[in-house]
C-alpha cells in the first residue's frame, strides 16, 4: 500500500518562517526527509488531483494561496478561529451587562435598561465600522488625534493572511475588526448602568453614540493604535493588556461624569440619609455576572491576538483566579463590615477581580493574579460605599467596578509583573489618569451641552412612574390586568 505525503507546506517554508525559526520550524524538515524515503511525495494541488485525491487537492490549493505563509497556515487558521470565538464571547458580555443592569434596578425601568443595551451594541458595531476602527488604528499618526474613515475590504492587500499582522496578530483584517468592534460598545454599556432609572433616553443615545464612535477610538489609539502612551515607562510602553484603562477606566470615568451631572435618583437620599433602592431581580443580576465572567475569557483570552499556546492558557487561568479571588474578598469584606453577606457585593467582587486582571493577565503569575483579585474585591466594596456616601448614585456600581478597579489593574502591572518588562508605577499611573481624565472631560462637555439644551433627566413624575411607561409606553412585566384593546 502506498503512503502519500503532502509536503507542499514544508517545501514552501524556505522563506520567512524558517528563517525566523518560528513555530519550531527548523526541526521538521529532517524528520520528514527521513520519512520521505518510504513514501511518495505529493507537492502540489495539481499532482494531488492527478493522483485521484481531490480533497487533498483542495487543501493543497488553499495552502498554495497562502504563498510564503503556507508553512504556518494551520497556526493561522487556529488563531483566526480563536479570535472570532473570542469575539462571540465578548458579544455575550453585552447580554451580561443587560441582565445585570436590569436585575439591579427597579422593575418599572426594565424595558428602558434593556432598550439602551440593544441600542448600544447596535450603534457600537456600526459606528466602529463607519469611523471607529480606522480611528482606533490609524497607522502613522501624531500619537494623539486622528479621525478614520469607513472600513474598506479588509481582505485586500494580504489582509487575509499573515501579511495582516504577522505571528503576534495572527488573524485576518476582518477577524481583527469584529473582535475590536465587540469591545467598543462595552465602554458605553458601562455608562448605561450608572445613569439608569433617570436618564432621558434620547440624550443618552446621542451621548452613547459620540462616546463609542468618537471618544473611545481616539483615546484607544493612544495605546493600541500606536499613540503616545507607547512612550511611557521609559520607552517600554504603557501596559494595558486587554483594556483595564482604555476600556474599563474609560467607561468608568465617563460614567462618573454623567452621574455627577445627572444627580441621584429621587428617593435615594432623604434627610441626608441613604435610602437604598432595591434591585428587582437578583437572579437576573446573577445571570448577568456569570455571563460576563464567561465572556471575559474571550475579552482577555482573545486579547492574546493569536492562539499562541504560551499565553492562551495562562490568560484563562489568571482571569479565572482573579475573578474568584475578587468574589471571596468582597464576600469576606461585606460580611465583616456590613454585617451581612451581600449577594450584589459578591457579584461586584467577581467583576472587580476581572477588571483588575484585564490589564495584566499575560504578565503575572497565578499567585499574583489571586492577590490582584483579592485586592480588587476589597477595593470595590469600600469604593461602592464611598461613592454612595458622597451622593454619587450608581445603581449598579459601575464607577467602582470599572473606574476604580480599572486603575488598580493598571497599577498592578507594575507591581506583579513577572516578565521584568520595566513597567513603573508612575508610568502606569500617568497612562490611566490620562485615559480617565479624557473620558471624564469629554463626558462633562458633551453631557453638559446636552443638559443645557435638550435636558438629560426625565421629569420627576416620569421617574416616579417608571421610564418603561414614560419613555417607551411598555411594561416589562404586564401580566396582571393587561390593558384592553
Amino acid at each position: 500500500m502506498k503512503i502519500k505525503k503532502y509536503l507542499l507546506a514544508l517545501l514552501l517554508s524556505s522563506s520567512a518562517f524558517l528563517m525566523a525559526g518560528s513555530l519550531g520550524a527548523q526541526e521538521m524538515p529532517e524528520e520528514v526527509a527521513a520519512a520521505s524515503e518510504a513514501v511518495e511525495i505529493v507537492t502540489s494541488a495539481a499532482a494531488a488531483v492527478a493522483s485521484g485525491d481531490e480533497m487533498a487537492g483542495d487543501y493543497l490549493a488553499l495552502l498554495e494561496n497562502q504563498g510564503e505563509y503556507a508553512y504556518a497556515f494551520d497556526f493561522f487558521t487556529t488563531s483566526m478561529l480563536w479570535t472570532v470565538i473570542a469575539a462571540a464571547l465578548v458579544f455575550i458580555m453585552h447580554l451580561g451587562f443587560a441582565t445585570l443592569e436590569a436585575g439591579l434596578t427597579q422593575s418599572k425601568n426594565t424595558v428602558n435598561i434593556l432598550f439602551k443595551n440593544v441600542f448600544i451594541i447596535a450603534i457600537g458595531i456600526i459606528s466602529y465600522a463607519v469611523i471607529g476602527f480606522n480611528t482606533h488604528y490609524p497607522g502613522d499618526f501624531n500619537g494623539w488625534f486622528s479621525i478614520g474613515s469607513m472600513i474598506g475590504d479588509l481582505n485586500a492587500d494580504g489582509g487575509d493572511t499573515f501579511g495582516y499582522g504577522g505571528v503576534g496578530l495572527a488573524m485576518t483584517g476582518y477577524g481583527d475588526f469584529i473582535f475590536q468592534a465587540m469591545f467598543a460598545a462595552t465602554a458605553a454599556t458601562i455608562v448605561s448602568g450608572a445613569v439608569a432609572e433617570r436618564v432621558k433616553l434620547g440624550s443618552f443615545m446621542i451621548f452613547a453614540t459620540l462616546l463609542v464612535g468618537l471618544a473611545y477610538p481616539v483615546v484607544g489609539s493612544w495605546h493600541w493604535g500606536g499613540g503616545w502612551l507607547g512612550g511611557l515607562n521609559g520607552g517600554n510602553g504603557f501596559k494595558d493588556f486587554a483594556g483595564s484603562a482604555v476600556v474599563h477606566a474609560f467607561g468608568g470615568f465617563a460614567a462618573l461624569a454623567c452621574v455627577m451631572l445627572l444627580g441621584p435618583r429621587a428617593g435615594k437620599y432623604v434627610d441626608g440619609k441613604i435610602r437604598p433602592i432595591l434591585g428587582h431581580s437578583m437572579p437576573l443580576a446573577t445571570i448577568g455576572v456569570f455571563l460576563l465572567f464567561l465572556g471575559w475569557f474571550g475579552f482577555n483570552g482573545g486579547s492574546v491576538l493569536s492562539a499562541d499556546p504560551t499565553y492562551v492558557g495562562l490568560v484563562f487561568t489568571t482571569t479565572a483566579l482573579a475573578a474568584c479571588a475578587g468574589a471571596l474578598a468582597s464576600i469576606f469584606v461585606s460580611w465583616t463590615f456590613l454585617k451581612k453577606p451581600d449577594l450584589s457585593m459578591a457579584l461586584n467582587g467577581i467583576l472587580a477581580g476581572l477588571v483588575g486582571i484585564t490589564a495584566n493577565a499575560d504578565i503575572v503569575s497565578p499567585m499574583g493574579s489571586i492577590i490582584i483579585g483579592l485586592i480588587a474585591g476589597v477595593i470595590v466594596v469600600f469604593s461602592i460605599i464611598f461613592f454612595d456616601k458622597i451622593k454619587i448614585d450608581d445603581p449598579v456600581g459601575a464607577i467602582s467596578v470599572h473606574g476604580v478597579c480599572g486603575i488598580w489593574g493598571i497599577l498592578a502591572c507594575a507591581l506583579f509583573d513577572v516578565t521584568d518588562s520595566g513597567f513603573t508605577l508612575v508610568g502606569q499611573l500617568i497612562g490611566v489618569l490620562a485615559v480617565g481624565a479624557a473620558a471624564f472631560i469629554f463626558s462633562i462637555i458633551v453631557f453638559g451641552i446636552l443638559k443645557a439644551t435638550i435636558g438629560i433627566r426625565v421629569s420627576p413624575e416620569e421617574e416616579a412612574e417608571g421610564l418603561d411607561i414614560g419613555e417607551h409606553g411598555q411594561e416589562a412585566y404586564p401580566d396582571f390586568a393587561p390593558s384592553s384593546r
Binding site: 435610602r275 437604598p276 451581612k340 450584589s344 457585593m345 461602592i384 460605599i385 454612595d388
Partner: protein
Amino acid sequence: MKLVKAVIKPFKLEEVKEALADIGIEGMTVTEVKGFGRQKGHTEIYRGSEYTVDFLPKVMIEIVVDDADAEKTTEAIVKAAKTGKIGDGKVFVLPVESATRIRTDETGPEAL
C-alpha cells in the same frame, strides 16, 4: 353567611388548607399580601445601607361559610396557623349579604 378572613404566615398556608379540608370546607381564595401588626418590620441591608421593611409578606385567606360553620372554621385556622411566636396573624369574621354561583345562578347558602 359569614366571611372568614384570615391573615397568616405564608409558610402555614398548606397546613391551614388541609385543616379546612378536614372540616369540609370546599373552597377558598388566597391572596399574597403585606402588612404589619405589633410584630412591626425588620431590618435588611442592601449594598451596605440598612433599611427597615415595615410591611412583611403574609397570605390572606377568604372563605364564605354558613353561619353555623364560622366558629369551627375560625378554630381550625387558628389551630393550624399557630406557631406561638409574634406575627402569626389574625382571623376576622364578617357578615355576608348575598352569594351567587355564576355558573348556575344559585344564590344563598346553596351557592357556597
